[in-house]
Amino acid sequence: MASESHIIEYKTLGLTLAALLVLTGVTVGAASIDLGRVNVWIALMIASVKAGFVLLVFMHMRWEGRTLQWSFLATVLFLAVMIGFIFWDVAFR
C-alpha cells in the first residue's frame, strides 16, 4: 500500500509548524478585538484550520487510504450529530 511507504520531508514538516505558530498568533490577536459572540466562532474556525494541518500533515492523513479517511469523517459526522441532537434537546426544554 502506498500509504505505508510515504515519507514526509523535513521541510514540509517545518513549514507546517511555521503555519501553526502563525495561526496561534492570529487567534490570540483576533481574541483581543472585541466582536462579542463572533469571537468564539472565529477562534473555533482558526482552531479547526490548525487541527486540519496537524491531521493532514503530522498525522499523515493526506496520504492515507480511503478506509482511514472515510472512517475519520464518519467519526466527525457522529460528533456533529451528537452535538446537534443535544442542542436540539436543550433548546426545546
Binding site: L17, T67, S71, T75, M82
Partner: protein
C-alpha cells in the same frame, strides 16, 4: 518461520482507538458548549481569571513537540537514527515543560481558592463553578493523556536506541506519534475555549 507483521492493521487499530478519544473529549466539549450558552457572562469572567501567557506558551510547546515527533518518524523512515533520537528527546522535553507549566498554573489557582469544591466556587456564581469544574476536568484529563503519550514516546525512544524500531518496522513509533498528535489536536481546541473567550 518468519514473523508476520501487519502495519496497516496496526495503524487502523490505533485510529479506531483515537476515534473513541475524539468522542470522549467531544462529549466534554458539548458539555462546555451547552453551559457556555446558558452562562455566557460567567464563562467569560472565568476565562479572564486564567493566565493567557501560560495558555499561549503551552500551545507553542505542544506544536513544537508535534513537529519533533513527526520529524522523528521521518528520520526513522530515512534511517537517520540520530535525528530520530533528537526528535523524541525534544518531544519528551516539551511534554515535561508542559506539565511543569500546568503545575504552576494549577498551583496559582489553588492559592486563590479556585479548585473543585472550594468555598469560593461553591458560594460564587453557578456559571463560574461550572467553568472551573470543566477547566479542571478537561485540562486534568488532557494532562493525563500527556503523561501516557510521554510514556509511549519514551518506550519508542528506547526501542529506536536498541534498533528494534527501524525503517522497515516502525508501527510502534508511528502509533505513539499518532497518539501524541491527537493530544496536541485536542489542546488546539482546549486553548481557545478556555483561554480566549474573554
Amino acid at each position: 518461520m518468519t514473523a508476520q507483521t501487519d502495519p496497516t492493521g496496526k495503524k487502523l487499530g490505533m485510529w479506531l482507538f483515537l476515534y473513541t478519544e475524539i468522542v470522549l473529549f467531544g462529549g466534554l466539549f458539548v458539555l462546555y458548549a451547552v453551559y457556555f450558552a446558558g452562562y455566557t457572562e460567567d464563562f467569560i469572567a472565568g476565562a479572564k481569571e486564567l493566565d493567557l501567557f501560560f495558555g499561549v506558551v503551552n500551545t507553542i510547546i505542544l506544536l513544537i513537540s508535534s513537529f519533533c515527533v513527526a520529524a522523528g518518524v521521518t528520520a526513522v523512515q530515512k534511517a537517520h537514527n540520530r535525528i530520530a533520537l533528537a526528535g523524541l528527546w525534544g518531544a519528551l522535553a516539551c511534554g515535561a515543560i508542559f506539565l511543569v507549566n500546568k503545575y504552576i498554573e494549577w498551583g496559582h489557582k489553588f492559592a486563590y481558592g479556585i479548585y473543585p469544591g472550594s468555598d469560593r466556587l461553591v458560594d460564587g456564581p453557578a456559571g463560574q463553578n461550572l467553568f472551573f469544574g470543566l477547566y479542571f476536568v478537561v485540562t486534568g484529563l488532557h494532562g493525563l493523556h500527556i503523561i501516557i503519550g510521554m510514556t509511549l514516546l519514551a518506550v519508542s525512544l528506547v526501542l529506536v536506541t536498541r534498533q528494534k524500531i527501524t525503517a522497515q518496522s516502525n508501527a510502534m513509533l508511528e502509533n505513539s506519534g499518532l497518539y501524541w498528535h491527537l493530544v496536541d489536536l485536542i489542546w488546539i481546541f482546549i486553548f481557545p475555549l478556555f483561554y480566549l473567550v474573554v
